[in-house]
């Protein structure tokens, strides 16, 4: 047996060795050679603080007592890491970007930097962790006791626990509060933990290998031995198997110490990527030899031996003192690393969320007073560490180190798991609110206290015995271990199910029902969308903050050198020549985040708030956001309107272009038509005039014939030119109408006479109804008769009936219609819509005119305010002239 002094000496040597490791790591990191300290493998090993003495010793005990259930405690965290892409990746990033210092800081920061939530989570963590620390002290004491048969619960045992607690406090204070900025990471501590991780794995595996190959004689023999033992059948309670797996996974995320090493100490994604596969393997190795050790222990040790200590007692039973010593160091490592990290995490939380806010309130007007407050923060942390460890020790000494402690592990797990809904809701759901988180935490905490924590002290200890018989005050459905009358569930499972489900429901419902403050919403968006970029919360308004005050305050928190460096850097970035940057919102945000790395988000926010004036989210910022949105919408609406207008204009332009193209084509056609019309008579005139000039034997008859041809053609030319001129004048609107009163019958008479003046032999009979023609017109009678002449001559020229008849029909209604209907074959359907165009002639063979007559007529009638159209279906060619009657007066 190793005696107590030797054991103490070895322990102290081991602790000194750890001091050395931590010291060298700190020194290397200060000299900037810390690259290897950030190696992913160190990070992975540091996660092993999950495996405390409770798991180092207790797993074997648990396996001996409850079979294979112990596996779930490791399976849950393995799943969390294998599923790193879902939660851990996001959590770690949020931790880095927002400079989160603890899980309480995460919750507080996410829900609008609410200190109330920070305090709540801190209290929960302290209540959940204190018994756990007590458990570590107990396990160290018990393991010492194995080597030295002291009286259980005696003075020596107490003193062991006391000195272990003191030693741990010293270590933690030295290496845990060296840096104020939690984000500057405790390289020394992490390194020491990594070393301890190797020690405990090596110790457990050494014992396991000794048991499997040294005692049992090989793998197959060991398996046979397991099957032959009382653990020989695979029996697990289904509910507990699934429930504990879930619970351990939840606790793995929520335990303050796990959060500390996993999120706060995390430096880059690469670390997580290695831990994601390597840490499950570590856990697998840690639990690989548990069952063999338990089986052998049950086998060889006398009945009634404490199975929690099989890891020590089995090697001792076989006289393997060195192995037992290694195993002791493994257990010692497990206990110390857990206590150190838990103390750091808790002290950060207590100092940032409880001590600092109180200090700030007490010294409300002293924030901008000069003087380093770092010592306040450091002192508060150191005192917190001492406080946390004293609490642990007190808890241990008061509980008497009995069996009550061994169940506390899972009870503590359930307690800290209450943070899970608020945490996961906070990082995945923007709708989660502060009220929701408060409600969920409160409900979960109360249910946990009532159904698990308080009953764990035993019936009658805190909760009266009567509660466990008939429920409180006889209310059966409030029975602590059978809420709502659902009994028969395992008490732990019962508490887990009810606390977490009621917690989640309260969190969700209260989140839905409440309305978050602007800062909460900004923070929520930041946390949930952490992947999309790291834009900060613009939470400070311009103006009121004085750069000097800020400088004074920052110096007190960050230290003069760091603060001045920060201010100078920011001043240069702003392009300022002085040492003080302007207190822009951007700068304030950077400063706040720097401070948050030291004192937590809520405190940093409060401190900056005291100087800036407490405007957490400036109305201007919000309005700017709203304005921007409104402007964007307005702008896009304008764009849309403009684009519509553009497309309309484009359509108009296209139409105009089409029209111009058509007009151009028409003009070309017109010109070629005109030249053709002019050229035909010109050709005859030139030909005949040449004959006359050169003609020698031309008879006088021929001469007069040729001359008359020339004359006729010249007349035709003149008429054509007259018509063209007329049309051009009419089309340009330059014509001046010579308005006067006249009777329609007079106009018709004149037109008839003129049209028939050159009558050929065939004759044209005109049918008129004189009674209807007694209509007074106020119009240009000259122009009107020109139209009528044209229409009558057309009938004379083009009517192909043998006995040509033209009927002129006058109808008086709203307007005055004068129809000219002949008895010929009419105008072909396809020609009807072009006859009013210039040079449109129905047929070439009767080339009586230039094809301008109807075009001119239409222009005239239009000028006179009427219309001329072709009337189809009247048996012959029929034209209707419509004249307005407002100018037409009745004859009488």
């Amino acid at each position: 047996m190793t005696n107590l002094n030797a054991l103490a000496a070895i322990s102290i040597l081991y602790v000194l060795f750890l001091f050395g490791v931590a010291f060298f790591a700190e020194r290397a990191s200060r000299r900037g050679r810390a690259k290897w300290l950030r190696a992913p493998i160190i990070y992975t090993l540091s996660l092993s603080i999950y495996c405390t003495a409770w798991t180092f010793y207790g797993a074997v005990g648990s396996a001996a007592r409850n079979g294979f259930e112990y596996l779930t405690i490791y399976l849950g965290p393995s799943l969390v890491l294998i599923g790193w892409w879902w939660v851990l990746r996001k959590l770690v990033r949020i931790g880095r970007v927002q400079r989160i210092t603890s899980i309480a800081d995460l919750i507080s920061s996410r829900y609008g930097k609410s200190n109330l939530l920070g305090v709540g989570v801190t209290l929960l963590a302290v209540i959940g962790t204190t018994p756990y620390i007590a458990l570590q002290l107990q396990s160290v004491t018990l393991s010492v006791e194995v080597f030295h048969h002291a009286t259980p619960g005696g003075v020596e045992e107490q003193s062991t626990a006391f000195w272990v607690a003191v030693g741990l406090a010293v270590f933690t204070v030295i290496f845990g509060t060296r840096n104020l900025d939690a984000n500057e990471r405790h390289h020394g501590v992490v390194m020491a933990i990594a070393v301890e991780a190797i020690v405990k794995l090596a110790a457990l595996m050494a014992v396991g290998i000794f048991v499997v190959w040294g005692i049992s004689g090989g793998v197959s023999e060991t398996l046979a031995r397991i099957d032959a033992s009382e653990l020989g059948q695979w029996e697990v309670n289904g509910g507990r198997w699934a429930g504990l797996m879930f619970l351990s996974a939840a606790a793995f995320l929520c335990l303050p110490r796990m959060f500390q090493v996993m999120v706060v100490e995390n430096d880059n994604d690469q670390q997580l990527r290695m831990a994601a596969w390597a840490f499950p393997l570590y856990l697998m190795l840690m639990s690989l030899f548990i069952v063999p050790i338990a089986v052998v222990g049950l086998d060889v040790l006398p009945a009634g031996s404490n199975p929690d200590l099989f890891v020590l007692t089995v090697p001792l039973e076989y006289g393997q003192n060195a192995l037992a010593l290694l195993s002791f160091l493994g257990g010692f490592s497990s206990a110390t690393s857990m206590v150190i990290v838990a103390a750091i995490a808790l002290s950060t939380m207590v100092s940032n969320h409880i001590v600092m806010p109180i200090w700030l309130r007490l010294n409300e007007n002293m924030v901008s007073v000069s003087g380093d407050v770092r010592h306040v923060v450091l002192l508060s942390r150191r005192l917190s560490i001492a406080g946390v460890l004293s609490l642990g020790y007190l808890y241990y000494s008061q509980s008497g180190g009995g069996a009550a402690l061994s169940v506390i592990g899972l009870v503590a797990f359930t307690g800290v798991a209450q943070v899970l809904p608020a945490m996961l809701g906070g990082i995945f759901w923007r709708g989660a609110t502060r009220i929701g988180a408060l409600a969920g935490l409160t409900v979960g905490f109360v249910v946990w206290l009532y159904t698990l924590y308080l009953p764990s002290f035993g019936p009658g200890a805190i909760i009266p015995k009567s509660f466990f018989e008939n429920g409180p005050f006889g209310i059966g459905w409030l029975h602590p271990e059978a809420l709502f009358g659902i009994s028969g569930i395992d008490p732990l499972l019962h508490a887990v199910i009810w606390s977490l489900s009621l917690n989640t429901v309260a969190f969700f419902v209260a989140s839905l029902a409440s309305f978050p403050s602007p800062l909460e919403r900004l923070q929520g968006a930041q946390f949930v969308n952490i992947q999309q970029g790291t834009g900060g919360t613009r939470s400070w308004s311009h103006g009121a903050a004085e750069a000097e005050d800020l400088m004074v305050m920052a110096q007190r928190i960050l230290g003069a050198t760091d603060a001045q460096a920060l201010f100078l850097r920011e001043a240069r970035r702003q392009g300022s020549e002085t040492h003080l940057p302007a207190p822009t919102p951007e700068f304030l945000q950077i400063l706040e985040r720097e401070l948050a790395g030291s004192v937590g988000a809520a405190t940093a926010h409060a401190m900056v708030g005291q100087i800036v004036g407490g405007m957490s989210v400036s109305v201007e910022d919000l309005m700017a956001v709203a304005d921007e949105t409104a402007q964007m919408m307005e702008y896009s609406a304008t764009l849309e309107a403009q684009s519509q207008e553009l497309s309309r204009t484009a359509a108009q332009l296209r139409a105009a272009n089409d029209k111009l193209t058509r007009l151009s084509v028409q003009k070309d056609a017109f010109l070629s038509q005109i030249s053709h019309e002019l050229r035909t008579p010109m050709t005859s005139i030139r030909a005949f005039s040449e004959i006359l000039r050169d003609g020698d034997g031309i008879t006088p008859e021929e001469q007069s014939k040729y001359a008359s041809i020339i004359h006729d053609e010249a007349i035709r030319l003149t008429r054509l030119l007259d018509d063209l001129l007329d049309l051009s004048v009419l089309e340009n609107g330059q014509v001046s109408l010579n308005l006067g009163d006249g009777l329609l019958c007079d106009v018709l008479d004149r037109a008839e006479a003129a049209a028939l003046a050159y009558d050929d032999k065939r004759g044209l009979e005109i049918i008129r109804d004189a009674s209807k023609e007694q209509v007074w017109l106020n119009t240009d009678t000259e122009r009107l008769s020109q139209v009528f002449i044209n229409l009558i001559s057309n009938a004379r020229k083009y009517c192909d009936a043998p006995q040509r008849v033209l009927e002129i029909r006058v109808t008086k209604g709203e307007t005055l219609s004068v129809d000219f209907i002949d008895n010929g074959s009419g105008v072909a359907t396809e020609a009807q819509d072009v006859i009013f165009e210039k040079f449109a002639r129905v047929s070439d063979q009767k080339a009586g005119g230039a094809g301008l007559g109807l075009a001119i007529s239409r222009q005239i009638v239009t000028r006179l305010g009427g219309a001329i159209s072709y009337l189809p279906g009247e048996g012959g060619a029929a034209f209707r002239v419509v004249l307005p009657l407002d100018r037409a007066l009745a004859a009488q």
Binding site: L75, I82, G232
Partner: protein, 105 residues
Amino acid sequence: MSQQAGNDIPEDLTEKTGGSDKIPLFVERQTYRRRRLVDAARALPVLGILLWLLPLLWAVPETSTRASTGLIYVFAVWLGLPVIAGVLIHAMNRRAQPPHPEDET
């Protein structure tokens, strides 16, 4: 051919500017592969839960399972899952030339 991963928008356009003529096809394939790797990483814990909840079905004591069988099964899964996770992460690291390939969610 180059459209075979057409529904995947290249997440990092700077990848495209870097080099030889076969880049577009290459990038799309790579992006596609990377996303499938992420899918696998997401699915792995689900597989783990299923595999580790399977022992609950043995609890029906028709023919009771021997403890060694159960242990071997649980530990085999425990060895397999991290190995697969490690292979996936290794593949991700190898394919992740741009700084934050996992930035898409």
